[in-house]
Symmetry: none
Subunit: 210 residues, 4 copies
DNA sequence: AATGAATGAGCTTTCATTCAT
DNA sequence: CATGAATGAAAGCTCATTCAT
């Protein structure tokens, strides 16, 4: 109990514990008591180092988000073929989620439902959406397909949503293989995206009957 | 206050109030006091009619889910063209979400983050996924495309995820037109789906390089 | 424990308990737990009826101040002789303090040291000071003594201070007789005041030597 | 921070800091953390040198009281005229309070409201009261007025109370001139006192009607 | 049927105080 | 000598839930 550890170490222990507990219990049900206990430290230390429960949660959020972004960025090495780039990104993404299931739960399940963190989360997501939109755009340029700029973001939004949904599912299924999930996602997305980027558009046959 | 109303009516009032408050505040932050107040009724009545806070929430969940399913079912009249069927389903879905934003928030934002309701929610979602999978399968059959049964469910899962993601976004943007959102969704989904169902498959060029 | 009492009764019980505990322990050291216990009721009731600890304290303050003012007002019946009026006021004042020692402690010891209540208290005191200043002025008029208006307030301030000081002392000495204290006060004040109002003024012989 | 200073110096720094913080925040709200920080020293040092929070507060109290007594004593040089003596004492007193507003706040506002320090404070005040009573007595002797010994203390008590009240007010009004306050006090007190010492006594006309 | 009154239990947060280095 | 690290203990406040009327 009296192991005097340097601050940085303790902070990581606490964040680990917090992510675990937040993921297991949900933000509100999680108690600072349990977090401290799991971290193997007394409550006041948590407050001293990481502040309020809200602040602690945001700290978790940021750490996990940063790690995720870094993992994906490390996965996406610029290569010639845009589909390969996307594929690498997706693999990295799902691999990360598979390896950090708790972190993902905190990130995309808890954070989303707490009004206080909406802002923080929206920012993170916006960054990701823009990355994806960039990938789409460069893919489009590579394929010499004319496209309207605004649509990339909208498409990216839907794709990110689909990926999140699969990731959520992955987080809850221990047995599932991340690469398999990534392949699945790639299939949905890419085949559709390619057609779309080639100019195919679906349109309701007759005008809206309403 | 002393209006002796038949039980069924009272229950609906309470559920209306509960959905509103849960959506506005989130499950934990919502207080039984406020719900009772918004329902214009005293707290013990809420307990007498709808039980515990958890039970009350589940009741909300079920009512909203049922309504949603019914709305979608009413939208999807069996017609010849499978894309049309999907389109009708999506329109009904987004129209419902657009018209019942509060209900949607309760359903997919609050319920998802509270571990206690995961089971309930998973069941609902599974039902929807199976409906969508059924649509895909019949579409596939209509196009005389050979397909492996298990994949329909997986595809359906991703599509549902994408739809949820868009619905979530719709719920937060008052100005957005549900039909517009439905069209967007249809484009992503259908164009990709059609190709997939025709047998196009994306596959990593070389074996996983990692 | 389950004696269902009407709200008004309970509120008075609580205020009684609060005044007692605040007086005994001081504002900070007093705990809501102890107040509730002394009131013979559970903590949440205190919060439900009287609000926050701060608000509870202000409620005590107001009740005691009101009672004090009323007691004094009831004592000072307008009579011909201004010294008699003052004397009656002082008697009523010290009698009240003697009978409500706890209330006085809350009022003038606790309230004064807590920055949050300075405003509230200043208002009360200002009202008293003005009453006293009025007495002085009418006495002055009755004695046909010319006086500068601003000075009444300043004099009143000092007199009120002296009275408070004596009252404080009275509050701490169970054995002391309020009437005796009042007589003492009257002697200091009146004899001095009378001379002052007659125009006697003390002035430093030579200029300030500093 | 690592300036190895002799113990006495350090202690003064700490007391300075403590007085400042106690005055600014009040006894309870003041935290040892803040005191240590303001003193530019680590918390354990404070404990090592000056002990517990209570002990620290008492130390402040004593230092300030001693300084005050010394300042007043230095002001009151024995001269022939007793009013001059009193005047000098008052001037010194208010000058000190004006110059050490923080100290005064600690002394007479905080200490008075904390039950734990009542004893300490009562002792200090008793010493002052006796000094004043001594002045009164010698003045009385000089004027060859017969007086009952016990009354000097009682009178002194009231005068000290009035002075404290004015000092309190002075402590809160930066712009006020101490000498002005002293003059005011002198007027109230002396004119009344002189008459009293000459044997004038106010007495209720008829017996107490209660 | 309907409600004001009542509470047990729990949570976040803060602080004085002390080790171990 | 000096301090960062660590904690026990308590306080304010809230809430779901239930009686008694």
């Amino acid at each position: 109990m009296l192991k005097r550890l340097p601050r940085v170490v303790r902070e990581q222990q606490m964040l680990d514990a917090a992510v675990k507990v937040f993921a297991r219990r949900g933000f509100h049900t999680a108690s600072m008591d349990e977090i401290a206990e799991v971290a193997g430290i007394s409550k006041p230390m948590v407050y001293a180092y990481l502040g309020t429960k809200d602040e602690l949660f945001v700290a978790c959020l940021r750490r996990e988000a940063t790690r995720l972004m870094e993992a994906v960025a490390a996965g996406v090495r610029p290569t010639a073929r845009p589909d390969e780039q996307l594929w690498n990104g997706l693999r990295a993404f799902f691999a990360f989620v598979g390896a950090h299931r708790d972190g993902w739960r905190v990130l995309y399940r808890q954070a989303r439902s707490e009004p206080q963190f909406t802002g923080e989360l929206a920012g993170m997501r916006a960054r990701i959406v823009e990355v994806v939109a960039g990938l789409l755009e460069s893919a489009c340029a590579a394929a010499a397909v004319p496209a309207r700029p605004g649509d990339f973001t909208a498409m990216a939004y839907a794709y990110v949503g689909a990926a999140e949904s699969l990731a959520d599912w992955l987080a809850d299924h221990e047995e599932e293989d991340p690469d398999h999930t990534a392949t699945r996602m790639m299939n949905f997305v890419w085949v559709g995206a390619e057609s779309l980027l080639r100019g195919r558009i679906w349109r309701a046959q007759e005008g809206p009957s309403r």
